[in-house]
């Protein structure tokens, strides 16, 4: 369990983490999602005491990380897979870490096998590929058989096989009752791994909810096309529908179920020729959520919400006749 309370970190005048509070619970995979520079790594570094908070507190398994007698058995951390002396072998690196806690040598071999480092464990880390470095970082995080696992961008640089492996590992660790906290800037990755999401942008928490709830966006949205928009608007009066027009014949209806919209149209004899319940991809929700929170946006590309995510797949590809 990771508890974060009113956590704030400023560098000079710049606020990297802004009054952040959330709890990461055991038994599920919690994703920490946000654009680059949103404050994900800073939050994780604050949790394990590599930096000190300007304000607020963090606790892991009930205590500040620094106060644990066996930090590696409480929290396994992968923050920067390259934070290893390149001229040491992976085995020497892991052995030195293990020695600080009296973790037996057999456990070093276990994590070497578990992460698939294999024979590479006796080679110098400097020659490792990005993916092998990442596996070593995960091996180090698992060394103390920790209750809580914090992995910053764990799939970075992994090949597809490795990505699948990390996904399975995260879910398995959570199924054992451990707390698993993963960060990523890739929503697609989170959609496949996380049970719960904490979304951060410019140092502020934008959402903290089960992934299903974030995907549903809270309210039902339906795309409707009709020959008489004005009539359909009148028909929907009295419901709590939020209505937005698009194209020549489209309405985006937020609130009522599609069935309720159909009934209203039927009773007022309005012809409806499309009625599409919208399930938004996590990507759409994320883009909408963070559009104001991205620090650096690529200049030439169109804004992520243009055209609107609800305007239909064809509209988005610019393929409409």
């Amino acid at each position: 369990m990771i508890e974060i309370e009113n956590l704030t970190k400023t560098y000079g005048g710049k606020t990297a983490v802004d009054d952040v509070s959330f709890t990461v619970r055991p038994g599920r995979v919690t994703g920490f999602l946000g654009p680059n520079g949103a404050g994900k790594s800073t939050t994780m570094r604050l949790v394990v005491g590599l930096e000190s908070a300007t304000r607020g507190h963090t606790r892991v398994n009930g205590r500040p990380y620094v106060q644990h007698r066996a930090p590696l058995a409480e929290v396994g951390v992968l923050l920067d897979a390259k934070a290893v002396h390149p001229r040491r072998t992976a085995r020497a690196h892991l052995s030195a870490l293990a020695a600080t806690h009296g973790i037996p040598r057999s456990r070093v071999q276990e994590v070497v096998d578990l992460t698939g480092l294999g024979a590479a464990a006796d080679k110098r880390v400097g020659g490792y590929s990005l993916g092998m470095g990442q596996r070593l970082g995960i091996a180090a995080a698992l060394l103390g058989d920790p209750h809580t696992v914090i992995l910053d961008e764990p799939v970075n640089g992994l090949d597809p096989e490795g990505v699948v492996w990390v996904r399975h590992l995260a879910k398995y660790l959570a199924s054992e009752g451990r707390t698993v906290f993963l960060s990523s800037h890739l929503m697609s990755e989170m959609a496949q791994t996380a049970d719960h999401l904490v979304v951060i942008g410019r140092g502020r928490i934008l959402a903290d909810a089960p992934i299903q709830q974030i995907l549903a966006g809270g309210r039902t949205r339906t795309r409707v096309r009709t020959t008489d928009r004005a009539a359909l608007r009148r028909a929907l009066q009295g419901t709590d529908a939020g209505i937005t027009e698009f194209d020549d014949d489209g309405l985006l209806v937020t609130g009522p179920e599609p069935r309720r919209i159909a009934e209203a149209a039927l009773s007022d004899s309005v012809l409806v020729h499309e009625l599409t319940p919208l399930t938004e991809s996590l990507e759409d929700v994320y883009m909408a959520m963070t559009q104001n929170e991205v620090e650096y946006r690529s200049g030439g590309a169109p804004a992520p919400t243009d055209p609107a995510p609800w305007a239909g797949a064809d509209a988005r590809t610019g393929d409409r006749a």
Binding site: P71, H85, G102, L114, G118, L142, G162, E176, G177
Partner: protein, 338 residues
């Protein structure tokens, strides 16, 4: 990277114990002894450390041999000069013509040698034990010939031990495992102290041994078991050990191997040259307390007659420099963002 780990739906975490993740929570925990062991593993698992020590040993022995042969050269030169003085005195005549025996001539020559050595001893301000000539002193000191150079290598080794943690960012991994940080710093200091002290004692012993056959050519061999030699062996160990404190403290303060070495060289060499060049009277009271002066005094075979600090005192002064820098390095490391 073909492994069998990826497709397994339930990857093993290596914890077969159904009781849960905390299977060895009772035994697995931090302790200073364990951190010390960890730092020793880290020290010995880097080849560059051993290469540096190897180079330092070769230089120690090489300079000792060179100094030993220059001691022989000095003796030869002195003897030649004395012979020339005797020849000048005889001025082509035989000793008998002046009413002298061969013994008288030899005695005269020995006197000339002794006079010249006496001048050398006085010139260097040394107070040598009764009956010890400058040649003998040179012979005994020759084992320390490489000291001033080798000490920089060992200081650099200590800077590197902490500086490389910053340059490779492995300091983050290290301090995440030991979030209180101070035990890591102390353990590193202990490992460096043990390595540099051990190296100093070993290299000094080997150097004193190595110069014996060379000095034997000039009949300048000396007893290895005498107090002055044994104390010198110990002093070299202490000198290197304290220098490792200086290097380690500077490396920790500056977070950089390069800058750490630069400032170390300034402290041990440049500062000394500047102090030597400045001739303010009030500075004379300060000079013996500089790192280089105190360190040099600590390892001197015999003290100058007017020495302000004796061996132990200069060792304490040099040690204080080292402790202050280590303490500063530890305090700064405890607080900084890594």
């Amino acid at each position: 990277m073909s492994t069998s780990t990826s497709t397994a739906p339930r990857p093993q975490t290596g914890a077969p114990d159904p009781a849960g993740p905390s299977r060895h929570a009772s035994r697995v925990r931090l302790s200073f002894g364990r951190v010390l062991r960890s730092e020793w593993i880290k020290f010995r698992s880097l080849r560059s450390h051993w290469i540096l020590l190897g180079v330092a040993l070769v230089l120690s022995l090489g300079f000792a041999a060179l100094s030993a042969s220059s001691a022989l050269t000095f003796i030869d030169f002195n003897e030649q000069a004395a012979q020339e003085q005797v020849d000048a005195m005889l001025d082509g005549r035989s000793p008998e013509e002046l009413g002298l025996t061969e013994e008288d001539v030899q005695q005269q020559k020995d006197e000339f040698i002794a006079q010249s050595e006496q001048q050398m001893t006085e010139g260097s301000g040394l107070s040598l034990p009764d009956g010890m000539g400058f040649g003998e002193y040179m012979a005994m000191s020759s084992a320390n010939g490489g000291l001033q150079l080798v000490v920089l290598l060992l200081g650099a080794l200590a800077v590197l031990a902490i500086g490389s943690e910053y340059s490779t960012r492995s300091i983050q991994t290290t301090m995440t495992a030991v979030p209180r940080r101070t035990p890591v710093m102390l353990a590193k200091a202990v490992v460096l102290s043990a390595v540099t002290f051990g190296f100093g004692v070993l290299s000094a012993l080997l150097s004193h041994l190595l110069v014996q056959p060379i000095l034997a050519g000039g009949d300048l061999g000396y007893d290895l078991l005498q107090e002055a030699v044994l104390l010198n062996v110990l002093a070299v160990g202490v000198f290197y050990m304290i220098t490792s404190w200086l290097g380690f403290g500077l490396g920790a303060l500056l977070k950089s191997t390069t800058w750490g070495i630069v400032v170390l060289v300034v402290l041990l060499m440049v500062l000394e040259i500047v102090l030597f060049a400045l001739s303010f009277e009030w500075l004379d009271d300060v000079k013996p307390y500089s790192p280089a002066a105190a360190g040099g005094q600590l390892t001197a075979m015999y003290q100058p007659s007017g020495a302000v600090l004796n061996h132990v005192e200069s060792g304490l002064v040099y040690g204080a420099w080292g402790l202050v820098l280590v303490a500063a390095g530890v305090l700064v490391t405890r607080r900084r963002a890594l």
